[in-house]
Every structure is written in C-alpha cells, then in structure tokens.
C-alpha cells in the first residue's frame, strides 16, 4: 500500500487510501472541488531497493576501492577506481564513484545534476526595456550598464531553452542605440536649460 497519502491540492484534506477509489474520484469529498488523479504503478509498489554488494570470497579477487571487503563490479568511468555495487552510481549510462560525482557536480560538469543557470540575457533586456517605461532619464546609464554586463557575461553557459547568445548579441546594438539617444537627449536638455 502507498506509504504517502494523497491529499486534495486545494483543501489539503486526505483523499481515500484505496487506489481504485482514488483513481475513480471525481470530486474532493471534503471541499467538493473537481479533481482528477492519475495513479502509476509506483504508487502501489514498495520502495525501490538498491543492489547489494557481494563480499570478496577468494584471495586476489578485485575489491572495491572504498570497501575492501566488497567485491568490485565495475570501474569508475571518471577515475578508474574499482567500485562495488554500493558505490557504483549510474548516471546517464556512465558508472561513477561518489567522489567523482560530488566533484563533478561542484564544478558543474555533470549536466544532469545542474539545478539552475544564470540568465544574463534576461537581466540585460530588463535593463534595456524597463527604464524606458519606468524611469526615462536613467536609460543612458542603464544602457551603459547593460552593454558592459553583456560583454562580461558573453561566455556564460547558455540557457537550455532559449538562445542566450543571440539575445545577448541583439542587445548590443539596442544598448548602443539607447546610449546614443540618451546622450543626445541629455545634451539637448542641458542646452535648453542654459
């Protein structure tokens, strides 16, 4: 049976435990809101168990680098150390040891472990467009900041969904145009004041 109960996303009242009743549920019994629940086999299956290591039985048998008593089953694809079933971590078809995985995650080399990326293109375009609407007099300064920021962040890791480099490239002429227009506006304003 499921270890974690399903609750109504609106009122947080627990829904029936029985998978058949849950799948057939149309409305939340507590708040009456329309719900639709899709259950998968993992809901009724038990917790997933990992592979258990085997002990080294014969002398001369390859042992795990981290657990001398465990039989090695695979070498690490990164550092080549022998690993037992406990230390073998499979990631996108590659076998790595926990140390390589941790160091790879820290250096951002393992794409599957990345949880965020900076988007300098969004910052640049916000700097270019928002002052035009909100604070007209500041836009030469923000255009200059956007231009410098674009050049500094040019080699940032690109976004997974948008073309960061193209957006940054388009921002350069817009920033130059805004800068030139802003400077001309300020000069005109100063001349008018005098």
């Amino acid at each position: 049976m499921a270890a974690t109960a399903v609750s109504c996303p609106k009122c947080r009242a627990p829904l029936p435990d029985d998978p058949a009743a849950l799948a057939a549920l149309d409305r939340c019994p507590a708040c009456g809101t329309r719900v639709k629940i899709c259950l998968f086999p993992a809901f009724t299956a038990g917790p997933r168990s990992g592979a258990l290591p085997e002990a080294v039985l014969a002398e001369g048998e390859a042992a795990c680098f981290y657990h001398a008593g465990n039989k090695a089953v695979v070498p690490c694809d990164q550092c080549g150390r022998f690993l037992c079933a406990l230390c073998d971590l499979e990631l996108a078809g590659r076998h790595v040891c926990p140390v390589c995985l941790e160091s790879g995650a820290k250096r951002g080399q393992v794409e599957l472990l990345e949880h965020s990326r900076a988007r300098p293109d969004l910052v640049v375009w916000n700097l270019l467009l928002l002052p035009l609407i909100a604070c007209g007099y500041a836009f030469p300064l923000t255009a200059l900041i956007a231009l410098i920021y674009t050049l500094v962040k040019w080699n940032t890791k690109p976004s997974l969904v948008d073309n960061t480099r193209a957006r940054l490239a388009w921002a350069i002429p817009v920033a130059l145009l805004e800068l030139a227009g802003g400077v001309a506006l300020w000069l005109f304003y100063l001349r008018m004041v005098r």
Partner: protein, 193 residues
C-alpha cells in the same frame, strides 16, 4: 538547447507563470521542468520510475480573470457607444476627438479579445506531482485542457517506464525466485527385529 536535442521531447502545457515561464521536456528516463524566472532558470528532474501520481484540481482563478476582462469590455463598449451617441455626455472625450475614439475602440477590442481567448482556453487548474519523497506543484500548467494533454503524453511514458513494477501485496504473494525444494527427510529406518 533542448529543442535541438534528440533525447528530449517538449510536452504540451507549460507557459507563463507569475515570475516568468515554465516548460516541460520528456527524456527517456526522466521529466525535466525548466522554470525560467527573473534572472535565472531552475531545473527539476523527475525520474519516471519515481512518479507515483499526478493530481489536477480545478480552481476559480479563471472566473476572476474573466470577470475583470468582461467588466473592462462592458465599460469600454458602453463608453464608446455613449461617445458615439451622445457626444457631450461622454466625458472626457470632446466632440470630434477621433484619436480618443480610436483609443477607446482599441481598448474595448483588446479587452474583448482577451475575454474570448480566456474563455477559449477553458477553466483553470493546478497540477501537483507526487514522487516517493515529495509532492510539488507544477508551474505553468494553469489550464485544464492543456494539463490533460500533458497528462496523456506523460502517462504513457511513465507507464512504460514502470511496466515492471508490481503492487507490494502481489510481489509478496509471488516470490521472485523459487527455492529448491527441501530434501525429503530420510525414511525412518525399519526397526530391526
């Protein structure tokens, strides 16, 4: 980029969120959520074998949306009709203010278009995903119809990934392997006479 990556397929659904937008990408063994926010994008990966259930719940946010757009449409249309019929009563438009009339007609048309698009998109909803260790809302899946399309596509992938999982009770009833039958105990030696 994921669009050019043959390992990923974009799922229907996803769209604007409060601070940006969200999109969903299906890989061979996981679902990737890309949540683009103000200055960064965040990723969440769900192993298809870990997904236990998806819950859709209808919300009433759509009615607020439609109420505001409908009210604005009515207001602008009434104002426009008033301006066309009784020129002097339609403050602040003066007689012969064609630019004002065009702006008013544009505002009425855009709010009406927004209302029709909102009605066409259907009712609003919220979607939650439950895995073995967490239950989290899925951003950007705000419309019931789109969310159902998302569910249909994802369900087939998850069912395929979990094809070998069986309920706990069934797994206990049917052991994974059969042990060798116990050797029969040797027959009692016949008592010697």
């Amino acid at each position: 980029m994921l669009r050019r990556d043959p390992n990923y397929t974009r799922l229907p659904g996803g769209g604007r969120t409060l601070t940006g937008n969200a999109s969903y990408w299906l890989a061979r063994d996981h679902l990737l959520l890309v949540d683009v926010q103000t200055a960064c994008e965040r990723y969440r990966r769900f192993d298809l074998r870990d997904i236990r259930c998806l819950t859709l719940v209808a919300t009433r946010l759509g009615w607020i949306d439609r109420g505001i757009l409908g009210g604005a449409s009515l207001l602008f249309l009434a104002w426009l009709l008033g301006a066309l019929t009784f020129g002097k009563l339609s403050f602040p438009l003066a007689n012969g203010d064609w630019i004002g009339l065009i702006a008013l007609a544009g505002a009425a048309l855009s709010s009406l278009t927004g209302l029709l698009l909102s009605i066409r998109a259907g009712r609003m909803c919220r979607v939650e995903i439950q895995t073995g260790v967490q239950t989290i809302p899925l951003p950007g899946l705000n419309r019931w119809r789109k969310a159902e399309q998302f569910l249909v596509t994802l369900t087939s992938a998850v069912q395929a990934a979990q094809a070998d999982l069986r309920p706990v009770t069934e797994a206990v009833a049917t052991p994974a392997f059969t042990a060798d039958p116990e050797p029969e105990s040797p027959a009692d030696p016949e008592p010697s006479s």
